[in-house]
Symmetry: C2
Subunit: 210 residues, 2 copies
DNA sequence: TGTCAATTGTCAGCGACTGTCACTAGCCTC
DNA sequence: GAGGCTAGTGACAGTCGCTGACAATTGACA
């Protein structure tokens, strides 16, 4: 790797860290691109040569996580029923994600940024759009697994929408609570996924949930 | 109603129409606030006195529709199972929505704008965030119906997330297709909702869907 | 070492907003 | 019906995100 390349990598990293650190401490809207550039001592123009926009820095880590989830779903054995494949893929990929994130940014910083994402309207909106794109991708993968045409059969998109909905609910509750550990997220998510059946099937009043 | 009040109402309406018309023909990003203000012959500053932002004009009609859906869910007889209540509320409120929209903006214009919303990344993101807020509200209503605590019992949020997910899928498919009628949306949505059970239950390969 | 190409800074400009302030037009009272 | 009062408006200046253009710099490679 060149000196030039290394230098680029360093500024990129520095910009990303500075941005996330500022978002986490001061807030997203309260941080200007000039602030980020100044923290790394480059011009504002240079920031925009590395990142398409302020938003892109906030979603750098989530983007990585999404890619890992997609891989994990692809790697699931074809014997599993779709919902099961999705569930195992996500729950099991969290460990991988944890490690991969640490290589880029302290996991603690990432979690503080994640809270900012969930509580900043502009970022939350962007997050949900990304999630929608991810769901579309997953629906395609599920359809392929089952040998179906996504556009002809509604079921792949339905399962993924259901699954994605539950994941988003648990992500939100998790980020709003105090237990910001991976273990806490895993517990919450599996508990919610276990309730999918009961939520659809039964008479709630007759059978209260734990 | 005052002359003053009437005048205000007229500028508000004119701004809204001008904005939607421009969005539908030229596109959202291609329309500047100056364009909208110029079309009504007021200053840009005045536009911002009527609307919090360009985005707000695009979501004026959807906001109305959401309010009607909430009302419709509240009005459902308590005997219905949650998913059934949601389904009937939404499907039946479309007629009400149709009328209410016509009072403000030609329904045809609204539909063209809706297409723009679904195909403009910034607007789609905002739309999804609004949908998330609506889901949170509906979860509260459902929980109340069933006499549950939303934060203690996962099921209200799960059903609503599932339902919302299916609705969003069908909205997207509908807006991307050619049949932009209410009837088309109703058919598509009911067909998809009918597939929720099969999507979760069965072995897809053994029982292909229609 | 000198040339070439990649990286960067500077500057100018657009579009969405916001605050400020003077001005105008409708309202209300005498 | 003239006057003052105030809500509504326009004009102006400024912030912030972002982009294009051009010149200056810095590493790469012969």
């Amino acid at each position: 790797m060149n000196l030039r390349e290394r230098k680029k990598q360093r500024t990129r990293d520095a910009l990303l860290r500075a941005a996330l650190e500022l978002f986490a401490t001061r807030g997203y809207e309260e941080t200007t691109v000039d602030d980020i550039a100044a923290a790394v001592d480059v011009s504002q123009r240079t920031f925009f040569r590395y990142f398409a926009g302020k938003e892109e820095t906030a979603f750098f880590v989530p983007r990585l996580a999404e890619a890992l989830v997609v891989d994990a779903v692809r790697a699931r054995p074809p014997g599993e029923v779709p919902l099961e494949a999705l569930r195992r893929a996500v729950v099991e990929s969290w460990d991988t994600i944890h490690e991969a994130v640490e290589d880029i940014v302290p996991i603690d910083l990432h979690m503080r940024v994640y809270r900012v994402i969930e509580s900043t309207p502009a970022l939350l909106a962007a997050h949900l759009r990304r999630a929608a794109e991810l769901e579309e991708q997953l629906a395609g993968i599920i359809a392929e697994r089952e040998g179906l045409d996504v556009d002809a059969d509604p079921r792949p998109r339905i399962v993924v929408a259901l699954f994605g909905g539950v994941i988003r609910v648990t992500e939100r509750l998790w980020s709003a609570g105090d237990d910001l550990t991976m273990e806490g997220l895993r517990r919450l998510t599996t508990a919610y996924l276990d309730q999918v059946g009961p939520a659809l099937a039964g008479n709630w009043r007759a059978e209260p949930s734990p």
